[in-house]
């Protein structure tokens, strides 16, 4: 007879409702997060440019009231005795909120670069990875091309690859010469270098994951496809790949999350994405803790949204008996 039983509380129900509460909280947080981002982006591109309101990149909300509240709390801390610690924390928290409001516009712009960089790189990388994987598994004497490609790229650090592309004069010059680059909406050449770098890097890893998924499709599938008259290529396209892609979803999600996180390295080649902006602010204000906590939360938000999205995709395209949703790592 546990305490819960004695009190007449149904623990199972209670846990369920806290789980539900947790889930609802996550959904609300997600909506709030993306709501803020999208509103900020749209505002910056449209109304901000046209001069309505405080302008692109400027705060809509003022951090001042929060800063005052924090100062007031901190002031009162001296007077209070035993309640000092929690009030102190509250003051820090409110201060953090003030800071968050202050740097939010900058972070939002950075987030845009992060999201675009990641999405473009992973999609382009995908279209390189699939042929690579097919070449590796079915390519006969040409398999070594795919093998070299993936081994070389996966065997060296991403940052080194970015440095090569950024500092080597040839690529930079060629891109800079293209007069479109750097004007108006078109981002600076560093951004394009980052896209190329991440695409290549991502494609090598994706090729490995897809290869693994390809190999887990039973050989008999292709045999049966050829037995009804499909060519090898058609068989791969219509029978093997649809199954492969389903098996590959968990690993692919993994790669997406990796790319989101490693996009932070683009900051080292001056791409103004999330990390770059946060560290610029931090090195001038020295408020490392709140800024980087906030930064971590923004990244976490993007990562969790991505895994959530891929969960839905997997369920949408799931066919009974193929692939599994279990055992996938978070992030």
């Amino acid at each position: 007879m546990s305490v819960a039983d004695a009190l007449g509380i149904d623990v199972g129900r209670l846990r369920e409702s806290t789980d539900d509460l947790g889930r609802v909280a996550m959904v609300v947080a997600g909506i709030a997060f993306w709501g803020w981002l999208v509103t900020r982006w749209l505002y910056d591109w449209t109304l901000g440019r046209w001069g309505i309101g405080p302008g692109a990149g400027e705060n809509v909300l003022s951090p001042a009231p929060f800063e005052q509240a924090a100062a007031a709390l901190e002031g009162s801390v001296v007077a209070l005795g035993p309640v000092r610690l929690p009030v102190d924390w509250l003051a820090t928290l409110v201060d953090g909120v003030a800071l968050a409001i202050d740097i939010a516009p900058a972070l939002a712009t950075g987030a845009w670069y992060t999201v675009v960089l990641t999405t473009v790189a992973i999609v382009l990388g995908f279209f390189i990875a699939v042929p690579m994987a097919v070449l590796r598994v079915y390519g006969g004497p040409f398999r070594w091309i795919a093998l070299t490609y993936t081994e070389l790229i996966r065997g060296t650090p991403l940052l080194a690859q970015l440095f090569v592309l950024y500092y080597t004069p040839y690529l930079a010059l060629w891109l800079n010469d293209a007069s479109v680059v750097g004007q108006g909406f078109v981002p600076d050449y560093a951004f394009w270098i980052a896209i190329i770098g991440f695409t290549i890097n991502g494609s090598a890893y994706q090729a490995e994951y897809i290869r693994g998924a390809l190999e887990s499709v039973d050989e008999g599938q292709l045999t049966a496809a050829r037995a009804i008259g499909l060519s090898k290529l058609e068989g791969i396209r219509h029978v093997v790949l649809p199954q492969t892609l389903r098996y590959a979803i968990p690993a692919w999600t993994n790669e997406l999350v990796y790319l989101i996180k490693y996009s932070s390295l683009a900051g080292f080649i001056t791409v103004p994405e999330l990390y770059y902006r946060a560290s610029r602010i931090a090195s001038s204000t020295f408020e490392y803790t709140p800024i980087f906590t906030l930064l971590a939360l923004v990244y976490l938000g993007i990562v969790l949204s991505a895994t959530n999205l891929m969960d839905r995709v997997e369920r949408r395209y799931a066919v009974p008996g193929i692939g599994q949703a279990e055992g996938r790592q978070q992030g």
Partner: protein, 277 residues
């Protein structure tokens, strides 16, 4: 560890720039002055390699010491400890390593850890006094911060590897162990874990190479590992960027290749006879 000491002593004993039986001028003559530049500074880069290797080893070790219990808790635990491990793991896996490293270096009350580490190293040094081995007692802050960052992030991923491996062991193994009267803990220790460790090897191999490559991110906190040193060099002589990076890429490649083969060998050595991998 002894091999590493021998290696560093060997590296120190080599005269500067005389890695191969060719002279600097010959390299410059045949390959161009950029490669000559690389050759001239090769020992600087090789010391960077040593730092990289050491950082990888300490981080993986920390990752294992924290990650294995975490994985076991996630697989077998319940309640608050399990929830804590899961939430913390999500946090560590969902944040870029760069951010974690900056956080560890600039934000954490790192003095406590540094002091503890210094104390630990000094006591090891004391014990090792009469022997020919030494342990560095003057470890840079950045190294410790990088180890903590890489180590705990690796722990978050290693916990997933172990959790998966522990969970992949057929339920029947546990049943059979219990049916002869073993307690749950005893069964986990003698029946489940030995099998799970073997299944963890591929994931562990993967994790090792990831940590190895991510040591390059310690660049951001100024640690003198391989990438940072290469950056120092090629910003000096900007025409040599490609050559320098190719050289260090080769080093990284050799390291990852070597690690994978070694772990392959280890896994074959301990494989269960008769089972296909």
């Amino acid at each position: 560890m002894e091999g590493l000491v021998a290696l560093t002593e060997l590296a120190a004993a080599l005269p500067t720039g005389q890695l191969l039986p060719v002279s600097e001028e010959q390299v410059g003559q045949y390959l161009g002055e950029d490669w000559e530049f690389v050759y001239r500074n090769s020992d600087y880069l090789l010391w960077g390699t040593v730092v990289t290797i050491l950082l990888t080893l300490t981080s993986i070790l920390l990752g294992f010491l924290a990650g294995f219990p975490a994985g076991a808790i996630e697989a077998y635990g319940s309640g608050y400890s399990r929830a804590f491990v899961r939430k913390f793991g999500v946090l560590l896996r969902g944040t870029p390593i760069l951010v974690i490293m900056i956080f560890t270096y600039f934000v954490l009350p790192i003095e406590i850890v540094l002091d503890a580490a210094q104390f630990g190293l000094r006591s090891i040094e004391y014990v090792l006094g009469p022997t020919p081995f030494t342990v560095p007692t003057d470890v840079p802050d950045a190294f410790i911060a990088a180890t903590i960052a890489l180590g705990f992030r690796s722990a978050a991923y290693q916990s997933q590897i172990f959790r998966g491996a522990l969970g992949s062991i057929d339920e029947g193994q546990m049943e059979a162990a219990r049916s002869i009267g073993m307690s749950r803990l005893s069964a986990i220790r003698h029946v489940i874990v030995p099998q799970a460790m073997r299944r963890s090897v591929p994931g562990f191999q993967n994790e090792f190479t990831i940590v190895l490559k991510d040591t390059s991110i310690a660049f951001a906190i100024g640690l003198g590992e391989l990438l940072k040193r290469s950056h120092d060099l090629f910003t000096q002589q900007t025409t040599a960027v490609l050559e320098v990076i190719l050289f260090i890429s080769l080093i990284y490649f050799v390291l990852t290749f070597g690690t994978n083969r070694t772990l392959d060998y280890v896994s074959n050595r301990f494989a269960i006879p008769g089972e296909s991998s």
